[in-house]
């Protein structure tokens, strides 16, 4: 069994919470820049089509 002081565990969790958005932003920026935009074979939906696909009722 490995014991970790509670204060260290909390610090690691806080650091993880801080780093996750930064990683997400980097990935999002890279994907936005890499996306060729419309014209590929990506799925595309109208509002009604999306509501039906996701079972969203208004």
């Amino acid at each position: 069994m490995v014991s970790i002081p509670r204060v260290e565990l909390d610090a690691l969790k806080a650091e993880l919470r801080r780093l996750r958005p930064e990683v997400g932003r980097a990935v999002a920026k890279a994907r936005i820049e890499a996306d060729p935009g419309p014209g590929d074979e990506s799925q595309m939906f109208t509002r009604d089509e999306l509501a039906e696909a996701w079972g969203i009722s208004e």
Partner: protein, 130 residues
């Protein structure tokens, strides 16, 4: 009635479907809402230090979810007004969206015809505006 379109490039659709509930439901509702209001007041330019053209970040703190998206203008082919072939190009406003939670980032994109474009026609690879 919105005439905007949502586009899911890459594996973004599958990424969203793989989210655990209720997070998936939250992301789906937000993306659905963005079709009606592409730039809500809570959206911030993204990235904050050097924003990409038309890019925004929408942070949903309560759900620990972030939505990233851009509003872009594409030059798209449009059909002839009288049913002829492709004969000109016109503006097409687009919205690219990504959402992230934890260690994964989800990407979708919204496509929209501007308010001056009243009809949408489905083409082989997507939509064109007339």
């Amino acid at each position: 009635m919105s005439d905007r379109l949502v586009r899911f490039p890459g594996a973004s659709w599958q990424d969203i479907e793989a989210l655990p509930q209720p997070l998936r439901w939250t992301v789906q509702r937000v993306i659905f809402h963005l079709l009606e209001e592409p730039v809500p007041t809570l959206a911030d330019p993204f990235p904050a230090d050097d924003p990409l053209p038309g890019a925004y970040e929408l942070r949903l703190s309560a759900d620990d979810v972030t939505i990233w998206y851009t509003v872009t203008v594409h030059e798209r082919q449009v059909l002839g007004r009288h049913g002829g072939g492709v004969d000109t190009k016109g503006p097409d406003l687009g919205f690219r969206i990504g959402a992230g939670e934890g260690n994964r980032t989800l990407m979708t994109s919204l496509e929209s015809c501007g308010p001056q474009l009243s009809e949408l026609l489905r083409s082989r690879s997507g939509y064109v505006c007339q």
